[in-house]
């Protein structure tokens, strides 16, 4: 919604909004302290963040959903701190999100157009889902192709947050054989800062942390070479996993229901991709910090990495071959044996030829040569 058109009862700044909802300064500082810790900022930044967010006008956000499963939205609605309610009404002004908004059809598209016009160059664009390039008709919203809507909306955005592995790297729609020609946001938009928040879905607090950073500093957090915020994606799941000591001791679960699994030993042999997956699951966790996949007994599937779906079987250990088989090796052995027979035949024929060409020299021959 356009901020200048806001009715009087809607807050202008986040601080006012918090006050209206009876959120105490203590609670707000607690939230900011959590966020600064999550973003790997110095503790002193908590009060800076609190001041900045309290004074910030509610950030206009346009959320576009393309080829996705709504899992990312499901995830953010379970964002424990802040809650979605806080997020929508206190921190941001979610001007367009076709799953969550009440308006539909023309009214919905009008809201997007208005937000774009009123906040030209200032609004934040959040995208989940990949963009089909094979045929524009594969995915459309209000008759507009995903590609056209992305290009049009990205033009006036201050920054873009690509949430979920589909928007960041193409995700499952891009998995081989990629029937829709799916691409990521970064494949299309080249002239805007893009924050990649991958995961299938991403951890809620990672999404809200990125938004809190943007509101506090007005800039995007430090990113790695894959465009991910370093504070959340700086370390692998494996390195921060509470089961890591078992890996080092060589203690592994062999099946999902053996004694070792019940003892909580390492899931590497069951295909855990934690060693090559950069995400904050092992530290931030899910459901209000309750648990994460490995803690609930299943290995990491590496969902926040590019092309994870095509990175070998989910239940094969990382050190296992992706496709090599004993049948293949037997074939190679047979080929080697056939080549061996050929080379044997070749060597023996050289030997036989040498034997045939060999002329016997007698003593008389040698004596004749001496003369």
């Amino acid at each position: 919604m356009n901020q200048s058109d806001q009715p009087d009862n809607l807050p202008g700044t986040v601080g006012e909004g918090l006050e209206q909802r009876g959120v105490s300064r203590r609670e707000f500082l607690q939230f900011c302290t959590t966020m600064t810790a999550m973003l790997a900022l110095p503790p002193s930044m908590a009060s800076v963040m609190a001041d900045a967010i309290a004074k910030a006008r509610r950030q206009s956000v346009i959320w576009l959903s393309f080829q996705e499963c709504t899992g990312c939205t499901e995830s953010i609605t379970r964002s424990h701190s802040p809650t979605l309610e806080n997020l929508i009404f206190d921190l941001i002004s979610l001007d367009y999100h076709h799953t969550l908004q009440a308006a539909s059809g023309e009214a919905a598209e009008h809201a997007r157009a208005l937000a774009m016009k009123d906040n030209e160059g200032k609004y934040l664009l959040i995208v989940d889902g990949s963009i089909p390039m094979g045929n524009p008709g594969y995915s459309t919203i209000a008759g507009i192709s995903n590609y056209d809507m992305l290009v049009e909306t990205a033009r006036g955005a201050a920054a873009i947050v690509a949430v979920g592995t589909c928007a960041t790297y193409g995700g499952i729609p891009k998995a081989d054989p990629n029937p829709t020609g799916a691409v990521s946001v970064g494949d299309i938009v080249k002239d805007k800062p893009i924050i990649n928040v991958p995961g299938c879905p991403p951890i809620p607090v990672v999404m809200t942390g990125v938004l809190a950073h943007f509101l506090t500093f007005g800039s995007i957090p430090e990113l790695d070479e894959l465009g991910r915020p370093k504070s959340f994606y700086g370390e692998t799941i494996h390195d921060r996993c509470y089961r890591r000591p078992f890996y080092d001791q060589g203690k592994f679960a062999e099946t999902f229901d053996d004694e070792a699994a019940r003892q909580g030993w390492c899931l590497f042999k069951l295909g855990c991709k934690g060693p090559v997956t950069y995400n904050a699951c092992a530290t931030a966790k899910w459901n209000d910090g309750t648990s994460f996949p490995i803690q609930s007994g299943h290995g990491c599937i590496g969902c926040s990495e590019p092309n994870f779906w095509d990175a070998g079987p989910l239940y094969k250990a990382l050190s296992m071959p992706v496709s090599a088989s004993s049948f293949m090796l037997a074939g190679a052995a047979a080929a080697g044996a056939a080549a061996g027979v050929a080379i044997t035949w070749h060597n023996r024929s050289i030997k036989a030829a040498a034997k045939t060409a060999h002329e016997q020299v007698t003593v008389q021959d040698l004596m004749r040569e001496d003369k």
Binding site: G250, A317, S319, M320, A324, A332, A339
Partner: protein, 219 residues
């Protein structure tokens, strides 16, 4: 191409080709060597009791009298390197999973810290061997390009594996990929370089032992 894509390639097509070349190469070389045959020995054997060949297979593992003192670096670094390499290849849990993936066979692993120490020892031994090879005029003269290539191809998997485990130099996914590539290079080179001794060693020891028995110098 992301690091994970590169890793998938290393674990996929690259590994398939390296394994196929390795297996085919080893079988080919074995055929090549053993099908040459030997001329029949028409002389009467000097020593009758059999078993000299088998004994030699084991006795050649130990240094002849006085040789350990004369060539301590060669022997000690040789033992340390081969033991370290053997433990790393066959007793690191992820490696056992590789063998399980290929053959279905598996066995208990050793603690990672122990393998880590064995790998460090093996790398130090390899460096000592190189220094010794270059310092000794005789060894230096006997060494060709193939010797140094074999040395480097053996060191690389140990070094990259160590660096991957300790998160040195490159991030883990890329380092792990480089480790797998280095092993693939080793697999392809092995059948066609002196590294083939991994397969020919015991058979040639047996042959020498048996031959010497016939000459009357049984071990």
């Amino acid at each position: 191409m992301s690091h994970l894509d590169l890793l998938t390639f290393a674990r996929g097509s690259a590994l398939n080709w390296a394994l196929m070349l390795f297996v085919a190469g080893v079988i080919l070389r074995l055929f090549e060597i053993y099908s040459l045959g030997r001329k029949a020995d028409l002389a009467v054997s000097r020593t009758e009791p059999p078993g000299s060949g088998m004994r030699t297979v084991f006795t050649r593992t130990l240094p002849p009298r006085g040789m350990l003192k004369r060539e301590p670096v060669t022997y000690i670094s040789g033992y340390v390197f081969h033991t370290g390499l053997f433990l790393a290849i066959f007793f690191l849990a992820p490696h056992i999973e590789l063998f399980r993936g290929l053959t279905g066979l598996h066995w208990p692993a050793l603690p990672t810290a122990l393998i880590d120490a064995a790998v460090v020892a093996a790398m130090v031994a390899l460096l000592a061997q190189l220094a010794n090879r270059m310092a000794s005029p005789v060894k230096r003269m006997l060494s060709g390009v193939g010797d140094y290539v074999a040395w480097a191809a053996t060191l690389l998997p140990l070094l990259t594996g160590y660096m991957a485990y300790h998160h040195l130099f490159f991030e883990y996914t890329l380092m792990l990929t480089l480790h797998i590539f280095s092993v693939e290079l080793l697999l392809v080179l092995l059948p066609f370089t002196k590294l083939f001794h991994a397969f020919s060693l015991f058979i040639s020891r047996w042959y020498n032992g048996d031959w010497f028995r016939r000459k009357g110098v049984a071990s």
